[in-house]
């Protein structure tokens, strides 16, 4: 099952911030993590991630630095900033609310008493 484009776009910010809150990471690793976690259900166009990362950087939610990988390749790593953590907490409560609301609707059993 593939998640719709709109939902992928909307969930990009909390996804990226959540992954970065686990530790610094770079584009390819973030994509891989999303792929693995969603069991390939969330089909990102890989290139889409970079404008998202740059936007978050512009909004001061994350910062980036260059570092060589063990194989000697220069990678751009991203790190979540304090402001990003606050925004993530906000997003978390919003998404949890949406999720809880939908779950309650879908799990509602007819009341017999």
């Amino acid at each position: 099952m593939a998640v719709s484009k709109e939902l992928v776009a909307a969930s990009a910010t909390p996804l990226v911030l959540s992954i970065l809150s686990e530790g610094d990471s770079y584009g390819y690793a973030i994509i891989k993590r999303v792929r693995d976690l969603s069991q390939n259900g969330m089909q990102w166009t890989d290139g889409m991630l970079y404008p998202v990362l740059h936007r978050l950087e512009g909004q001061d939610l994350i910062e980036s630095y260059e570092e060589a990988s063990p194989s000697g390749r220069r990678r751009r790593y991203y790190r979540i900033k304090d402001h990003g953590k606050h925004v993530l907490a906000e997003q978390k409560s919003q998404w949890t609310l949406v999720h809880a609301t939908l779950t309650r609707l879908w799990e509602a059993r007819p009341c017999l008493t």
Partner: protein, 233 residues
Amino acid sequence: MFDLTNAVENWRRELSQSEAIAAADLNEMETHLREEIEGLAGRGLTEEEAFVIAARRLGSAGDLTCEFAKVNGAFIWQRRLFWMLAGVMLFMVAHAVAGVAAKALSLASTYIGLRGERVGLLESFISTAVLIITFYGVYRILGLNRKTHAATGPIKRSASTAALLITAAVIVFVCTAATRFVPLIQLRFLGPEEVGRMALGAAYGWALWAVIAPFALATILILMSRTKRCKVA
């Protein structure tokens, strides 16, 4: 035989044509592409298969342009401004060359016995014709190069770019100086009366051009403008 280095270079060149994608973005995506290829090759795919899949997963040039355009606004306008100013430079070069060509011809025409308004008229027509020919020439050259080079691609501050711009400046300087010098000779040897009649002829020619030019330019720009590629999601 599939050559990975070549394929990655071609992929990079195609994306570098996009006005929205900066060199830093390309570096980041190239690293991504290479890591993805390695990952896929590790699962038993050939290099070619891995490249095709990795490039496809990164997205098409059109899609990436649309996505990057959302965040690279300032960069896009810097690049556009560069090309606009380059256009002004081209205009100055064409204008200077046209001016000196017209003056040279008017000087020559007085020697073969042409006088008065006719010389002035001839001057304005020659000037306009050279201007149009120069722009058409540049347009053709860019059209031919478009297949191999990015016409509006990244601006590289290379030695050849600097050399080109300095040459342009020198052409403008020399031609403008020469253009200003010719009327001196004419005034000196033909006298004010004759030069005044030449100026009258030139004024008729320029008046005609002033009527045509704005509409001609607008028509050309309309013909050259392309439809937008980005879909509004």
